[in-house]
């Protein structure tokens, strides 16, 4: 899928400069300034996160990148082309904030429909549909109408349709919204797997923990403006402190170590009993329960990454 010229390794997959969006009313009077002169770049092969509270301009920015909205000012290029270029869309996958799918189609028909829009051959389509349904855990529900799906199942089929064309750039708007922790973990695994294979992922969310798990770089939006941007590690790093973890020593030994640390660092060290991450605890519990269960209804959360996404993935160009 190289209809449009691929950006070189150094050129960004998405480049926004001075991007603005003002919504107007029927009489063309400015109503809301949703995005106010933002600029950022998304580089090939990275997972870039747009963070922000509701109404901060994340979805508006994503819709401009997709060509669904026209910028009021500024410039925007996607894969080196204007966002509305049809050739760009061949290399793009999009999961909207809600699952805007045809409710009267089954899960399988839905994926075949979107596969046809990419002009995939029937054989390719069948293979990809089977693998994607397996990946999102909906193989058992393949003949159920999407309109009957729970929100989580609809998100899963939405994710599957976003990947049907093995896109070079994946744009995910609130991908874990409405998903249970298993589904959320699975989506994050998919994002990481895509990134490992050189795909570029732009993800927007207000669920900060999810973003922390997957993003290489982030931009924090508030009131239509970027408040902070950079690699997630350097943004969160507290360089004036360190954390040391080791097996719990005997009380007298611990007191001695703390006294030594206090003397060396010149302040009171904080001692905490580490706790397991709740997400990890939940996942472990469900995994144990699943081992003893014979049948589950709804989405089966153990799908592997679709094989076609592994096989055909390319290194960043």
């Amino acid at each position: 899928m190289t209809d449009s010229p691929a950006p070189s390794a150094s050129s960004p997959v998405i480049r926004a400069e001075g991007l603005e969006k003002t919504f107007r009313d029927f009489w063309k009077r400015p109503k809301v300034r949703a995005v106010r002169g933002i600029g950022f770049e998304v580089r090939p092969g990275e997972v870039f996160g747009l963070l922000g509270p509701n109404g901060s301009g994340k979805s508006t920015t994503i819709k401009m990148i997709l060509g669904l909205l026209h910028p009021t000012a500024g410039s925007l290029s996607v894969l080196g082309q204007p966002p509305r270029d049809v050739a760009v869309k061949r290399r793009l996958g999009y999961l909207p904030e809600e699952s805007y799918l045809y409710p009267y189609l089954t899960a399988e028909e839905t994926l075949h429909f979107y596969g046809k829009l990419f002009d995939l051959s029937p054989q390719d389509r069948r293979t990809r549909v089977d693998q994607l349904l397996d990946m999102v855990g909906l193989t058992q529900a393949r003949h159920r109408h999407v309109g009957e799906f729970s929100k989580g199942m609809a998100r899963r089929i939405g994710l599957a349709q976003a990947l049907i064309n093995d896109p070079d750039l994946v744009i995910l708007d609130e991908p874990t919204s409405g998903l249970d922790p298993l589904g959320g973990r699975q989506v994050k695994d998919v994002i990481l797997a895509l990134a490992r294979r050189g795909k570029t992922v732009l993800v927007s969310s207000h669920l900060l923990a999810d973003m922390e798990d997957v993003c290489d770089r982030i931009a924090i939006l508030f009131n239509g403006q970027i408040q902070a941007t950079g690699p997630i590690g350097s943004l969160l790093e507290q360089s004036d402190q360190i954390q040391i973890r080791f097996p719990r020593p005997a009380e007298d030994r611990l007191a001695a170590v703390l006294a030594e640390l206090k003397r060396a660092a010149g302040g009171d060290p904080e001692v905490r009993q580490p706790r397991m991450n709740l997400e990890q605890f939940f996942l472990d519990t469900v995994a144990r329960a699943r081992e003893s269960a014979t049948e589950v209804s709804g989405a089966a959360p153990d799908g592997k990454l679709a094989r076609f996404l592994e096989h055909t993935a390319k290194e960043p160009e």
């Binding site: 669904l68 045809y102 009267y104 349709q161």
Partner: protein, 451 residues
């Protein structure tokens, strides 16, 4: 093409699974089966044909029109409002592909529904008009006059140009002229009507001949028919007695006596004549009675066999289908521009304007036809007439003759008529609508639902 077919298929699946198609099919079949049974006909085969085809199939056509208008207006607008369009246009799907897919889905749906209706009506027609229960003479006339497709040929009136010019001059000089003499088009029309009326007038105890030029490609083994209608004399409704004589090359028929009541169409099957392709036919009326004038327009026509009733019926269905798919194109385009209710309203208004086009233009003319000078038009009437005159040429190519009436009276719905309809409604106007919708969808922001 795969994307177009996919969008069309999804539209169809939506219609099928929402049970729209099934409900419509049920309603349509109920209409074409039950409605004719509720209309009291005149008990003749010709009358039954009128009821079954003109009213039964006509009512089905109206239901299909409303359904198509509704479904077409919803096709794009509801996808935009529910934001489903966002997952489609972010794929490599251009605006034209989207429009074409939606339109083709409606075309297939209409084809299925209309074919089902058409087949049921035709089967009922064949069963009801079968040989057996009917009087043999009536059945023979029915076969010759109704269950056929004949091309009507009007008398050659090209030689009237000089007479029309004289009438125009007379009207301009007349202080009591029935039209505004500054309106050249109206003067010309009234002059033409007067010249034609004089041409179709036959004085008592005299005769008059008219020349007909049948089409070159005709079936010479089938008899010609003569259809005529006399206008009523002011004082008498008594039948006019006279006789017709027909001549083609060296062959001349005997006089065929007629006693024709005024204001009623009479059909005569002419004795066999061996017609060569392109050979003109001369018809002479010998008037042995009161003054006679044949009605203008359809007052005197030669019917030339063209094809079978079944083919003619198929062409009428084709014209009906073309009309429906044009409405579909109109609705899908309106849906690309407006929200669903507005799109449905706009489409409905435009369909109404097209249907009213002929009426809009004939009303001012008809108002002047009662003699005397025309009343002074108010500024509003003058403005309305000017607007009607301006939009008239836009809508005229979209108007059709009453093809169901034509089929049910044995008149040929020619391929030329069907192809003209196809060319204008799909080729020209459909193409323009597609271009318009493409331009709109290219500019429109589809990322937000329009309230």
């Amino acid at each position: 093409m795969r994307a177009v077919a996919a969008i069309a298929r999804v539209s169809l699946q939506g219609a099928l699974r929402s049970r729209l198609v099934v409900a419509m099919l049920g309603l349509l079949l109920l209409t074409v089966v039950v409605l004719p049974a509720t209309i009291r006909g005149d008990g003749t085969l010709a009358g039954y044909t009128q009821v079954q085809i003109r009213y039964g199939l006509g009512a089905a056509g109206m239901i299909l029109t409303v359904m198509t208008l509704w479904a077409a207006a919803a096709a794009v607008s509801l996808d935009v409002e529910t934001r489903r369009v966002q997952t489609v246009v972010t794929k490599p799907v251009g605006p034209f592909t989207l429009w074409l897919g939606k339109w083709l889905g409606l075309c297939v749906m209409n084809a299925v529904l209309l074919a089902a209706c058409g087949a049921v009506v035709f089967a009922m027609f064949l069963w009801k008009t079968r040989e057996g229960p009917w009087d043999p003479d009536e059945a023979r006339d029915f076969r010759e006059h109704v269950r056929v497709a004949r091309i009507p040929v009007s008398p050659d009136l090209a030689h009237l140009d000089r007479r029309i010019a004289e009438e125009e001059e007379a009207i301009r000089r007349d202080p009591e002229a029935p039209v505004d003499v500054r309106d050249a088009r109206a003067v010309r029309e009234v002059a033409r009507q007067r010249a034609v009326a004089r041409e179709l007038f036959v004085a008592p105890d005299s005769e008059k001949s008219w020349r007909f030029e049948p089409p070159r490609r005709i079936r010479t083994d089938r008899p010609l028919v003569l259809r005529f209608r006399l206008a009523a004399a002011r004082m008498s409704m008594e039948p006019v007695e006279g006789a017709f004589r027909v001549q083609a090359g060296p062959q001349t028929t005997d006089l065929i006596p007629v006693a024709a009541p005024p204001n009623r169409t009479t059909t005569l099957t002419l004795p066999p004549l061996s017609l060569a392709p392109g050979q003109p036919v001369t018809v002479t009326f010998v008037n042995r009675d009161q003054p006679a004038v044949f009605s203008a327009g359809e007052g005197l026509r030669l019917g030339v066999y063209e094809t079978s009733f079944a083919v003619n019926y198929g062409r009428a269905l084709l014209m009906m289908y073309v009309r429906l798919v044009f409405i579909a194109a109109l609705g899908v385009t309106a849906g690309a521009l407006f929200s669903f209710p507005v799109a449905a309203f706009v489409t409905g208004c435009l369909v109404f304007f097209v249907a009213m086009t002929a009426f809009v233009r004939t009303t001012p003319d008809a108002a002047h036809s009662h003699g005397g000078p025309p009343p002074e038009a108010s500024p509003w009437e003058a403005f309305a007439n000017r607007v009607a005159g301006a939009i008239h040429p836009v809508f005229v190519p979209l108007t059709d003759p009453d093809y169901l009436e034509m089929v049910s009276t044995g008149e040929s719905v020619t391929w030329g008529l069907a192809l003209r309809s196809l060319g204008f409604k799909i080729g020209v106007y459909g193409g323009l609508l597609a271009l318009g919708a493409t331009a709109v969808l290219r500019r429109r922001e589809l990322g937000e639902a329009r309230a």
